[in-house]
């Protein structure tokens, strides 16, 4: 049961965190309930997608569809990273003016597309991690251990929800400027971690050269194969033995994002 709790907690934490951060941000910036409704629709759609993807992962046996699925998963990682980044920039652009604009009833279209973005980001977050949870729980149900299954899974979900709720609650307590900045940074760090994961898997599948592998080895400092190190790797993109192409992608990502972020501030 302890193991089920930890696995479910870890697998669902990211989705809950993204939802929590978005919720806190929308609550602070959007007086209407449209944004939050979009968020919940996205989360619900994500659960459906997770079941579908989990089923696909379970039924795929042969090499060719295995590769297609791997490519699809890498694709969703990249799209999720891109969409989160784009949404953060949208939040940056609209954060300060949104209230005024909504009152003036201006640019309803821009607002609408932003909310669609929120829903898609939430759906992708749930679908990606949820699919693995689906398989894990399916496996436990095969073991016939329903008590541990239900207890562990519920405790894991509750733990992840509580963690995210705590994060959202403490975010919401901050003033709007700080809330906007901190939630943006958190989301961007998550997006960069997704990008690192995607590039790593591209290398692992032989679709991208590693160039220099590894560039350094910091596993004595922080070992990414331990429980804690793995969490850090999943959420921040840390690697104890990064390949050069991963490093380049990471640096390119942050310079592009910093550039775009600054440009919006000036404009």
């Amino acid at each position: 049961m302890g193991n089920a709790l930890f696995v479910v907690w870890r697998e669902s934490l990211e989705a809950f965190l993204i939802a929590g951060i978005l919720y806190a941000w929308l609550k602070g910036n959007d007086d209407t309930c449209k944004g939050r409704r979009a968020l919940f629709i996205g989360l619900a759609a994500g659960v459906g997608l997770a079941l579908l993807l989990g089923w696909a992962l379970l039924t795929v046996q042969d090499e060719l569809s295995g590769n297609a699925l791997e490519a699809f998963q890498i694709g969703t990682l990249l799209v999720a990273a891109g969409l989160i980044t784009q949404m953060v920039l949208w939040m940056r652009k609209n954060g300060r003016h949104m209230k005024a604009r909504l009152h003036a009833d201006l640019s309803a279209a821009a607002e609408k597309s932003g909310f669609v973005g929120v829903a898609v980001v939430a759906a992708l977050a749930v679908a990606r991690e949820g699919a693995e949870t689906v398989i894990f729980l399916y496996g436990m149900s095969q073991e016939g251990d329903y008590g541990a299954l239900i207890g562990g899974a519920l405790a894991g979900f509750a733990g992840a929800a509580a963690t995210a709720w705590l994060a959202a609650k403490s975010l919401a307590r901050l003033n709007i400027g700080l809330l906007l900045r901190l939630s943006s940074i958190l989301l961007l760090v998550l997006a960069s971690a997704l990008l690192v994961m995607a590039v790593d898997r591209l290398i692992g599948s032989g679709w991208l050269p590693a160039l220099v592998d590894p560039v350094w080895d910091s596993s004595r400092l922080i070992d990414d194969t331990t429980k804690g190190g793995k969490l850090l790797a999943d959420f921040s993109g840390y690697r104890a033995r990064p390949a050069l192409s991963v490093l380049l992608a990471y640096l390119a990502y942050w310079s592009l994002v910093t550039l775009a972020y600054r440009r919006i501030a000036r404009g």
Binding site: N3, F6, V7, L57, L58, Q61, E63, L64, G66, N67, A68, A71, F72, I74, G75, L78, V79, A81, G82, L83, T85, Q86, L89, W90, E132, I135, F136, Y138, G139, M140, Q142, E143, G144, A198, D200, R201, L202, I203, G204, S205, G206, W207, D224, T225, K227, K230, A233, R239, A240, R241, A243, L256, A260, R263, I264
Partner: protein
């Protein structure tokens, strides 16, 4: 800026999907095959000896009863498997050394290593 980002994302996405048909690991039969059994949260054997500097295939079987996830950050592999499933992973030439892998669904018991010689 929005458009630029759009195209970056799309470009990456296309790149990732376009590779499916062309560069999937070829199923050449000269590749040595090494077998790994995942069973009840354990890895059998826990230490795999593999030849260094050549491609090889790892045939992973999850005997169950639960699901398992073969994962290695070092080797950049991640494979979720339902009970009763056998899948192949192709590894690219490795430098001699020791590489860790683990069962991400059973991190307490499923820790193994690959020794490339």
């Amino acid at each position: 800026m929005k458009h630029a980002l759009h195209s970056v994302v799309f470009g990456l996405f296309l790149a990732s999907t376009a590779t499916v048909g062309s560069a999937g690991p070829a199923f050449a039969d000269d590749m040595p095959t090494i077998k790994l059994l995942m069973k009840d949260g354990r890895l059998i054997p826990e230490t795999l000896e593999v030849p260094a500097n050549i491609r090889f295939r790892l045939e992973v079987t999850n005997e169950g009863p639960g699901a398992a996830e073969f994962e290695s950050l070092e080797l950049r592999k991640e494979l979720v498997m339902a009970p009763g499933v056998t899948r192949n992973l192709v590894f690219h030439p490795m430098k001699p050394g020791t590489y860790k892998f683990f069962d991400d669904f059973h991190p307490a018991t499923g820790q193994g290593r690959i020794v490339a010689k």
